[in-house]
Symmetry: C2
Subunit: 429 residues, 2 copies
């Protein structure tokens, strides 16, 4: 796998090592680099101690590209720029024009907030110190990014830690001269991403073993990844093996077509948004055990107001009746967690919001409240449409409270996708 | 900081390097080790390539403890046990008793699933091969964990990748003999975690600089971490410096008492749940731009049905009127995004669900829909109680759509906490 240029990601921040925060920058940068054709060899999380940062840089010195995040703040313990300068044997100096630009950026709000003064000037001065010869990436917040090359070693891209600043600066990274030159040598990656719902990893493994009898797969890296109820199968061909990867993808899709969500990387959320917009449909939710998580997921996308009518979170029986017209007698007869009540929640939400599609979810998320007949993880789903279509499920979902709720939201998304007619044989390829 | 034993975490899995999955094991293990008194020096994510795993092990060979996760599956590319054995110079052999136990575990479902046969036997055989002298940790799934010591080097704890298996095996790790012996030498960690709302990192930095004039802080590691609108200040004293850390915490709290959420690590969510239960209050939500995320956050905790009455997600003006009794004239006069409508949403939710507290949120999450008077990020909040208390805010929140919505949920949680009387001077210490 060494025919592609190699890269490593170095994320700094002591808070990552106490487990208080999950790192988002490593996955973002790794994915971006992999998509650009790099072989990403590792992601390192290190604390803000200078020696740990130094040894981490030496550890990855054999790669073609190193991307760091964090440690560019205005305080004395933000040391990444200095240590990268040392690693690249480039002396540090204040970039006076950069200092002016940072000052212009912060002066306004700092004055309003009463923070202007010597402390602010010192902070600005610190953030304007850059290694000699570095390519400066304009700050998104107050910290500039840097691209520095170690003589005979890797190109080091230094980015700020706040994810919003890092992702905002990423387009500038790709056009910075040393990076652009390296990119020109990287064979374009042509990964294929297949996404399945409700398919166990072992079934994909079995299919791959079968295909291996007929195709030489040594030039396609296959990465399978299960996230809750979706399975991603990511095919990364080595240079020249794109056709082979395409044939492999075809065979995998053929074997599991009924479980396929997409063969072009599109997510369930993207597909559902597109399908609802295409049909001009709106959705309303009536949620019990998922407590608003489905509504939150649906409105997650920009422009969602075009297809989300609204939703009700009805925990109590009274709320189910008062806000979603679930007959009290129905609850008394079948219980609040029942396919009948899920159906009534869906119909009630649809009617109350004047929507085209209604979704009802009621279940036992746990840890308490389970019975022998309806244990923790038993969840009833129903999707109904104004056309009279009804799709219902009442599975027993595995895992703890958070698992059950997240899987429930996933499953509701898949059922919604199904009523739009977007999935199933013939919908793909 | 070298007076504590050092540890590193080594997480394997190629899917982590394409950014498709965020790693959960690294943060879990790092936090557990930090709480046990270890100085966690780094978390490494590496692919499933043998050479990368080998070089990663050599990189962390100077630590006292190394914990790996992943690569223990039944297939040929799961190589962690072999490579750790090589690293520890311990030959591999089948543990026949372990093989029997794994076989007993899988035989039942494998037979039902039609998977019994030579492939399963080979898989069981592979998972029973352990390094000579290793301490075997009973499988939670089908893979055993291992504790192996490198002569003159670190103790290596080898754990399976699925988070459920890893966390399930963790208690056994701590009592495994070599680990227990090392733990006995680790000074107990006595970290102090302070949590603030709406406090910029730079203000904490200024306070720390001031305190440094009076106290020698070299024996307390201070980690500040901003997550959206909350700032965590984590004080890790070196052995013997617990009193010093306590004094530092007192000074930081005194300087920012009004922004303090907790000084004992408790989260906003924990505090709010406790305060609502104590008062016997229930909450109902009327959300527009946050689309159910506040409801979802409130019901996130087990037992939340005791204090969450329910909620409505009302995107459209019609839904606001029909489901939460927001007068159409009020919307026409002030606009759907206005303090007046936020108030009406809060009152409407409270009335409709018969709750003690109502929360209304309406704002411009973006990316579209902003105007000069009400730009993207302008969000109106209102919390009202049955007692007639009203707390309202209409800030301009920074960031993109996801940021605005997440910060809005945070802020709503803080306002809720405020009406319970839980925060402010005198509520802490």
């Amino acid at each position: 796998m060494s025919e592609r240029p190699t890269a490593s990601v170095l994320v700094t921040g002591s808070e990552l090592l106490t487990g208080h925060v999950a790192d988002a920058n490593g996955p973002f940068v790794a994915r971006a680099l992999a998509d650009l054709g790099f072989a990403v060899r590792r992601v390192l999380l290190v604390g803000d101690r200078p020696d740990d940062l130094r040894s981490a840089l030496e550890f990855v010195a054999g790669d073609d590209l190193v991307v760091t995040s964090g440690g560019l703040g205005p305080t004395a313990d933000d040391l990444t720029a200095e240590i990268v300068a040392e690693f690249c044997a480039a002396p540090m100096a204040v970039d006076t024009e950069l200092r002016g630009r940072i000052h212009a950026k912060v002066a306004g709000w700092a004055t309003r907030a009463g923070w202007a003064g010597p402390a602010l000037d010192a902070a600005t001065e610190k953030q304007s110190r850059v290694p000699h010869g570095a390519c400066v990436l304009e700050p998104v917040g107050t910290a500039p990014g840097l691209v520095v090359t170690r003589p005979g070693g890797p190109i080091v891209v230094v980015l700020p830690g706040p994810p919003r600043e890092l992702t905002g600066m990423w387009p500038a990274v790709l056009v910075a001269e040393p990076v652009a030159e390296l990119l020109a040598t990287a064979p374009r990656a042509e990964p294929i991403l297949l996404r399945f719902a409700g398919l166990p990893e072992s079934e994909i493994a079995a299919t791959l073993r079968e295909v291996e009898q007929k195709l030489d797969l040594s030039r396609v890296e296959v990465i399978t990844c299960l996230r809750r109820s979706e399975l991603e199968v990511d095919l990364h061909p080595l240079p020249g093996a794109a056709e082979l990867a395409g044939e492999l993808a075809d065979r995998v899709v053929r074997a599991h077509r009924r479980k396929l969500i997409s063969d072009d990387g599109r997510t369930t959320d993207e597909l559902l948004a597109g399908a609802l917009l295409e049909k001009g449909w709106t959705v309303a939710t009536g949620e019990s055990c998922t407590g608003g998580l489905l509504a939150g997921r649906l409105v997650d996308r920009a422009g969602s107001s075009a297809y989300v009518a609204g939703g009700v979170v009805a925990y109590s029986d009274e709320a189910k009746t008062a806000l979603l017209d679930v007959p009290a007698a129905l609850i008394a007869e079948h219980g609040a967690v029942s396919p009948q009540v899920a159906r009534a929640l869906a119909d009630g939400a649809r009617a109350r919001f004047g929507a085209d599609v209604g979704v009802g979810i009621t279940g036992v998320a746990g840890p308490d409240g389970g019975t022998e007949a309806k244990p923790v993880g038993y969840v009833c789903f129903c999707v109904t449409t104004a056309d009279g279509e009804v799709v219902a499920r009442d599975p027993q979902l595995p895992g703890g409270r958070a698992d059950v709720r997240e899987r429930s939201v996933d499953l509701a998304m898949h059922l919604l996708l199904r009523v739009t007619g977007r999935t199933g044989p013939g919908a793909h390829r």
